[in-house]
Each structure stands twice: as C-alpha cells, then as structure tokens.
Amino acid sequence: MSAVSVEFQGVSKRFGNRSVLVAVSGTLRQGQVLVVAGPNGAGKSTLLNILAGLLRPSRGEVVYRDDDGPLPRPRWFERLGMAAPDMSVYEELSALENLRFFARLRGLHLEDAALRGVLEGLGLAPREQTRLVGTYSSGMKQRVKLAQAVLHDPPVLLLDEPSSNLDETGHEVVAGLVARFRERAAVAVATNDPRERAWADARIDLAL
C-alpha cells in the first residue's frame, strides 16, 4: 500500500455542553510517531476516534491523502489499523479464529502459519492461540487486539493506550511494534505513560 498522510485542522468536539477538544491541528506522516498526551478526560481517545473516522468532529476537518490525492472517508478504514481500550475482539472465538475472521474481512489470503506468526510476534505462545479469547487474561487480550490492528500492515496505525494491561515484556513488544511501523507507516499513540511519550517525533499535549 502507498504511504498515507493524515492532516487534521482545527478539530473540535463537543458532547452536549461539554467541549472535549478545541481547535486541535496536526499531521500524521509516514516515518513519524505522533504522541497525543494529556490527563484523563482531555480528549486523547476522542481525537484518535476522530482521526479514525469513527467520530465526526463538531468543527474542523480530517483529510487522508495518498499519492493520488485525498481519500474519501469509506476508504480510510482499509488504510487504517487501530487498537483501543474500547475496541475488543470476539471472546467466543480463539485468537487464531479472530485473526482468520479479520483477515477474511480485509481480503487477505493468509495461511494459518502467517497468522500464528503475527500472534507469536506479539508474545502470544502457540498453545494459547487456539484457546477462546474469553478465557484470556487482559494482557493476552491486548495482544490479540494489537494483532488485529497490524494484521493488514496498514499505512496508518492508531494506538490508544497500547501498553495498557501489559507487563514489562509486553511493553517491550509494543515498543518493538511501534519501532517497526515507524519506518513504513504514520503512527499516532495516545498515552499517559512516560515511556511511551519518549517514542514521539511530534507531540500534541491536550489539557482539560
């Protein structure tokens, strides 16, 4: 897939009378990690949801652009991988079945060996991959969520609290993932973790 940049200009979001974001601007570019930092409730997740096209901003605009120009909103999703605390995978399926399902939806013809490789790369041992996700610990579920986000090698990767529920080894796995994707994708990370803030090539600090 060709490189994609995401430009957002004057993005504001109100929920009823409450302003969550006020005129936030920036750009996600291939080769850069944009860290979105700020206290709880500052609007980090809201901004990532707006960048993903899952929420419409109250004001301002988001533009996805590839070599051929701006992309219409329905085509953002095929260029995008996202993991967030409020995005789960299916608990009635195993990790492998989840990846098979998402691969099929995205039109990827991947053998089980390749899917297992993705899961192993995120630290999920082979014997765990065929167990139902509903029986997993929260850290293991987080690894499956990350796996579905990167499965299609997206040119835009949005990670909301990517190390949440992960132990130290898990944090290192996520750091490795971000380092790999920095080379070939535009990455945004919403976080409060000081270790993750250090990944930033660019940074947006949101205030309450």
Binding site: A52, G53, L54, R56, P74, F77, E78, L80, M82, A84, D86, M87, S88, V89, Y90, E91, E92, L93, E97, F101, F102, R104, L105, R106, G107, L108, H109, L132, K145, Q148
Partner: protein, 229 residues
Amino acid sequence: MRASTLLSESLAVLGKELTAELRSRVALNAVGLFGLTTLIAVAYQIGPYRIQEQDRPHLLAALLWVILFFAATSGLSRVFVKEEDAHTAKTLRLAARPLAVLAGKFLFNLILLASLYAFIVPLYCALMGYSVRGVPSLVLLLACGAVALSATSTIVAAIISRASGSTTLFAILSVPLVLPLLVMLIQGTRAAAGSAAVAAVLPALQGVVSLGGATLLISVYLFPVVWHD
C-alpha cells in the same frame, strides 16, 4: 484496495455469528425457550378443543404468528446490541464494509428464524390440532415471512444498537413495519389452512414479498448511515 468480495465478507460475518452463537447459545436459548414456553402455555390453556369451530381458522393462524413473532423478537433484536455491549462494534466497523455486516447479520437472523419455524410450527400443528390443507403454500409463506421479518428485525436492531440498545425502542420502531406484515402473514396462513391451492395465498404472499423487498432495499441505503454515524 480490497481483494475480497462483498459475498466473501458477508459469509465471513455470517460464519463468525454462527460460530459465536453455537458456543454461547444466547439467542438460540432465548428464542427456543420463549417459543416453547408460549406454545405450551397456549396449548395448555386453549388446546385443540376449546375454540369454536368457526373461530379456528382465524384464531389458530393468529396465535401461530403471535408465538413465532414474539419468540423471534427475543433473539433477533440482540444481533447488533451484542457488538456494542462486547465493544466489538468499532473493531468490526473498521474492518468490514457496512453492506457485508448487514448481509451477514441478516443471514444469521434468517437462519435463526428458519430454525425457530422448523421447531415450533410442526409442534404447534400437533399440539393445537391445526390441520393445514396447503402445506406447500404455508411453507412458501413461512419462507417469505422469515425473509421479511429478518430484514425488518436486522435494520431495527441496527438502529437501536446506536441508541444504547433500548429494547423498548425496538418494540416501538418495529410496530409500523411489522404490524402490516403480521396481518398479511396471518391472512395467508388462514388461506393456506383452508385451501390446497397456492393461488389462495397469493395476495398475502405478494404483500409479504413487497414489504420484505422494500425493507431490504431501504436497509441497503440506510444501514451505512446508521452503522457509521
């Protein structure tokens, strides 16, 4: 660019729904238990002999569809709410085309409804002493009714899932769509019970197919907006 077809994506959604349902059995249990309990209550209280002969065609057809509809409602309404409850809706929204989600969920509801009909209708006929002269007509009516009811339930379920999954809202939104459908299905069933000729159920069948087709068509245009906004 997507290499998958809409059909392949829809079948993937259907496969996921079926696998998840066979493992959790939430909808199957709800629909089966509701259907069976209502049927037994009706059969116990009314049975084959407590209805006047002249009332039988009307009452038995109406009771059959009341049982089928309310049993179906208990399971079909959850098809999107469960995605919101389990926080999988966003993940699915990013990975699948809206029409693939709609088609997969519609087919799942259709299979659930067909299973319910296959289970309840013969049992109802046996317990209530309901003899149907036009069995092929009834089967045709049940098939078209299942398609129309699945289409209605699926789009209404999608709308309510974006409104915090209110089942009250499901009932309110369903009434104007389902009421004419149920009336036609009851009329058709009465006609099928009384005559072996398919022509007897044709007016009802035409109505059901038209309403089901219109609902499906509207759903195709409405669903992407409901799903993404």
